[in-house]
Subunit: 630 residues, 2 copies
């Protein structure tokens, strides 16, 4: 305690400091219900699956408690660690004795599996002991170690339990002995350990871990693991101009997380410059409208600029989680709202689609169009995504706010009560909002032991200039894509109010995104929408939305309660095309009739009967244009 997820409290180059999970009490609403689901369903069912799939037995085996062979993939330990991290932070939000007991038990199994010398990886035990550190490019040993470190830090911060931290420290010391300055030069094929080492440094105080994280970033790009863009080893980090086509999306974004964490400790401007270049490359050229990342199945990789296929989007859940994690770090480092925008985008859309409304089914791949075949699964052989989306949801309470010396940043809007320690004293904030369903936000400020400070409200990049009122009187107008500062001497029950225009609105893509020509997406506030067959009579792939006809409709009965977006569409009857794939322009005359369309939030698709889904809907004008040209 405190349960900071990214603990920049003492990071010299972090502009913002965290607000710990336990200080933010989500009230009835979007995220509160998801945190409850996390504790009640996701964490317990994932535990079951970790057991059934042999992942925990692998630790028991390594400890000599059970016989038999290692089960599953060589990096399966990481799933257990990620689960411990998710469970720990969830427990910081709300103590749940059952979940706590489960985590205690799992942590005991982990601890028992550690080698005398500190090494810990259940794949590399017994017969494979001699293969340790022999193939850093492929075998994910440091990747697994990183997840262990993050789990140990989470457990310590959330529950004050040092047991796993002691394990992590012993293992980190071992890694430092092998790979520290002046020792063996190498890097891991799958970045992750970098950010974990920085957190371990923050928690355990050993500067060696920061040094090692630095070293692992600096040594990348020297061909130590083969020099491929896939492994982000084609250039040094500081030389990178782009996230290269073919780069594994999750590895790329985890590496950026690590570099951001190192920057916040060291202030190395070369890192920050590279981070900002890579961020622009991603956000301006290679990111899905959902915040998802990864355009290619082959290599789970990022594509060329503007290569953003919809049906075959890979957009791994882990990549969207990593995108949110990276942008959160960039926000903490800089205080710039553009990073909060992408953090929110990835969180509400590309990442959240990775888990079912029931909390126990998962997407690994998150396409932006589908014919009804793609369904969430209970688990995967490579199960990185389920515990990853779990830990991201557990992080949410800590993402809502951040603090400066005498200012509070409101990053996310969510009904909540929060107690925040500023340098001069403690304040309480009560957010009243139905966000993301409604753009009205009221923040009641209760200065407890300090009265002059700033409240910085994030004006989302997607929003329009909005009037800010303090106690019913006009105070100013927001500028979208920045924080709006209200600074005053606060009195008990002062209320700041702002109403963001949520839309709905239509979005178009850069003309170079060839797959989206003549297509638009529907957005409502931070949410990207899709058309799903369950809500529409005509095949949603054959609908063309008529601009200017959209309206929002609150539907408490639908998908756990969502704002549906209704509008008019032209429904194309494609039967005239039967038997033809190509035809002279205008030769096939497919009639269209006007119908009602219903769009739902993208995160909520595939929770009902299977059927076609599409995010980038055809724009109606284009159809009429084709008819005219015929």
């Amino acid at each position: 305690m405190p349960a900071n997820v990214i603990d920049t409290s003492r990071s010299p180059y972090a502009r913002l400091k965290p607000v710990p999970i336990e200080n933010v009490k989500l009230e009835d609403g979007f995220w509160a219900s998801r945190l409850n689901m996390l504790l009640n369903v996701t964490i317990p069912t994932q535990y079951q699956l970790l057991e059934e799939s042999g992942r925990i037995d692998n630790f028991r085996r390594a400890a000599g408690k059970v016989k038999g062979l290692f089960r599953g993939l060589y990096f399966n330990d990481s799933d257990v660690y990620k689960w411990v991290e998710a469970a720990s932070f969830a427990l910081a939000y709300r103590r749940d004795p059952r979940v706590e007991e489960l985590t205690d038990r799992v942590v005991a199994e982990i601890a028992a599996a550690q080698d005398e010398d500190g090494y810990l990886n259940t794949y590399f035990t017994f017969e494979r002991k001699k293969e340790r550190w022999s193939n850093l490019r492929d075998m994910h040993e440091m990747y697994c170690a990183g997840h262990l470190f993050q789990a140990s830090v989470a457990r310590q911060r959330a529950l004050g339990k040092m047991d796993l931290l002691a394990v992590a420290v012993r293992f980190a010391d071992h890694i430092y002995d092998v790979f520290g300055p002046g020792r063996r030069e190498s890097v891991d094929g799958h970045p992750e350990v970098e950010m974990a080492l920085v957190e371990l440094y923050r928690e355990a105080g050993k500067r060696e871990y920061l040094e090692l994280a630095q070293l692992l970033i600096e040594q990348r790009g020297r061909g130590l693991i083969g020099g491929s863009p896939y492994h982000l080893d084609h250039k040094t980090f500081k030389e990178m101009e782009e996230i290269p086509p073919g780069a594994h999306a999750v590895r790329a974004l985890y590496l950026c997380c690590g570099a951001a964490d190192v920057y916040m400790e060291t202030g190395d401007l070369g890192l920050m410059e590279a981070l900002k270049r890579l961020w622009r490359d991603l956000v301006e050229r290679k990111m899905y409208v959902t915040g998802g990342v990864g355009s290619r199945y082959e290599g789970e990789a990022v594509g060329e600029a503007y290569e953003l296929p919809n049906e075959r989007a890979y957009a791994e859940t882990c990549a969207a989680v990593a995108n949110a994690m990276w942008n959160w770090r960039m926000l903490l480092a800089t205080g710039e709202a553009r990073f909060a925008d992408v953090m929110e985008l990835a969180l509400y859309n590309g990442a959240l689609s990775g888990i079912s409304l029931s909390g126990d089914l998962y997407f690994y791949v998150n396409p932006l169009a589908d014919r009804g075949k793609h369904r969430r699964q209970k688990w995967f052989e490579c199960a990185c995504c389920p515990p990853n989306i779990a830990r991201l949801i557990a992080y949410v309470p800590s993402m809502v706010y951040a603090r400066e010396r005498d200012g509070v940043y409101v990053n996310l809007y969510a009904a909540s009560k929060a107690w925040i320690e500023l340098d001069g004293g403690r304040i309480q904030l009560i957010q009243r909002t139905r966000y993301p369903w409604d753009g009205l936000v009221e923040v009641e400020v209760r200065p407890e032991s300090i009265d002059e400070f700033s409240l910085l409200l994030r004006a989302p990049g997607w929003s329009k200039p909005a009037r800010v009122e303090v106690n019913g009187e006009g105070y100013g107008t927001t500028q979208p894509g920045s924080y709006f500062e209200v600074r005053r001497r606060w009195k008990e029950e002062d209320v700041v109010r702002v109403r963001f225009d949520m839309g709905p609105m239509l979005i178009e893509a850069h003309p170079r995104v060839t797959c989206n020509t003549g297509r638009v997406a529907v957005r409502y506030g931070p949410l990207v929408y899709c058309l799903e067959q369950a809500d529409n009579e005509h095949d949603v792939w054959d609908l063309a939305v008529v601009p200017g006809t959209l309206r929002a409709e609150w539907r408490p009965d639908l998908l756990g309660g969502v704002v549906a977006v209704k509008g008019k569409a032209l429904a194309l009857d494609t039967s005239a095309w039967a038997g033809k794939l190509y035809a002279p322009l205008g030769e096939v005359r497919a009639p269209a009739r006007e119908v009602e369309l219903t769009a739902i939030p993208y995160y909520a698709w595939a929770n009902r009967e299977p059927g076609p889904m599409i995010v980038w809907v055809r724009l109606a004008e284009q159809r009429t244009a084709q008819q005219r040209s015929a």
Copy 2:
């Protein structure tokens, strides 16, 4: 001799019989120059590469003539066989002592490598001898055998040399002993041997080979090699309703070739029904406008219906070659013009793009849009494509005509002289045409020893009804997509004349092809066009073609002589989008100015300096529509 490529002369269920290569003398024109290039450049340079890469040394090693390890991939023998096949058929077109000597030498190396028991595969020799036939799913043993059989048949038919046929027969007998009826049940992971066995049966007369081909088709889909759609083992061939998503494109099409060949010998209607279903699935839902096949890099596979990405099209050269081969067989089996349409489409576009104008550089992957990175290579580690496009070009003379009892089918238009044996006697045909650059075709008929017969002119599916004249007088009007029959008692120097409207025209795709929304392709006769940067000032990805402005222009200087298509386009200035990937519809106003566009045949792209290329160009109306909606 005669050098029939697919010898249906005695196939009871083939409607059409072949015209052998040596009977068709291509005159100065499109294909004549390519046949010459094949003999002068492609075959000799490929021989060099087969030597340099160790592929021929592998045979020498197996024969005990050289020491050392097997070099390259385990299926590399097939490249040598395909080269022998290509060289042999090319020699039937024109004897070239240098090429003939090369092939004789290579064939001697092959023959010397055969085992006592008839087995022949240079990978499975010495230390790997015990692994023979142990992994039919992955190790391509029958695939390699099939290419050997085809090479041996080609050599016998083209040069009357029996040496390789003797090798093939011994190996085929060996395979029959192992896998024949009542023996071990299995199939090869990579179909190819099926069609080869049928040809070997046709050439060597052993009905066992036909039986074995039948068996290998029938046994597929019983899970003998794991049951995956990738291997076309998920269902029996006759049960298949579609070419399943995830099926390896080349395997799927080779299997269809084999089934068509078996059908022509057995008349098994279940096979033909399945073939027609799969054909419709491919041609109406899964084929690129170029005749290319394969939508996915992962698995080199066919995708879902209408999944036809452009930049990331895989469209392997081998798959377009296989598509032409399959459709040729379907044409021979049925006499239906729709198959000739697809054969011509694949030949002129998706396959021909696989080789450079210089005849010595190759594409493995044939995207339909590119930013200038994709270039032809001299060779590949997996070099299936170079000899495959070589053999397809060698086939061309035999593809031009086919014959019925008393009728000649003109399948392809090409300046040529041909001598054709009908049942009643011999005729000569002189085709005068500049096709594909001009739609005027004159066929001078010289009845040599028979005077009453039919001339069946193919009216391409892409054409418009065209007036057919005999000796300058109207005879009738073609119906596009069928053969037009001129039946009469012919006199010396009778001339049939038809002029097809070549276009240029704009093509659109089925509305479900989401990547082509608002986009059109340019077609001129059988050729699909593309915009390449070398001919255009403005970035071709940012052009929008204005319908109704296209015109053809003969450019003898360009790319070896092509018809270029010129027209008007709106050139979008995308700089207003700088820094944005998504924006509210109409918010970004990118100005457009009218420019001239130039399109070139798709097959000819990437023969000049690298730069962007695009087949599916934005349609201008759509842009104006977006501006209007804003």
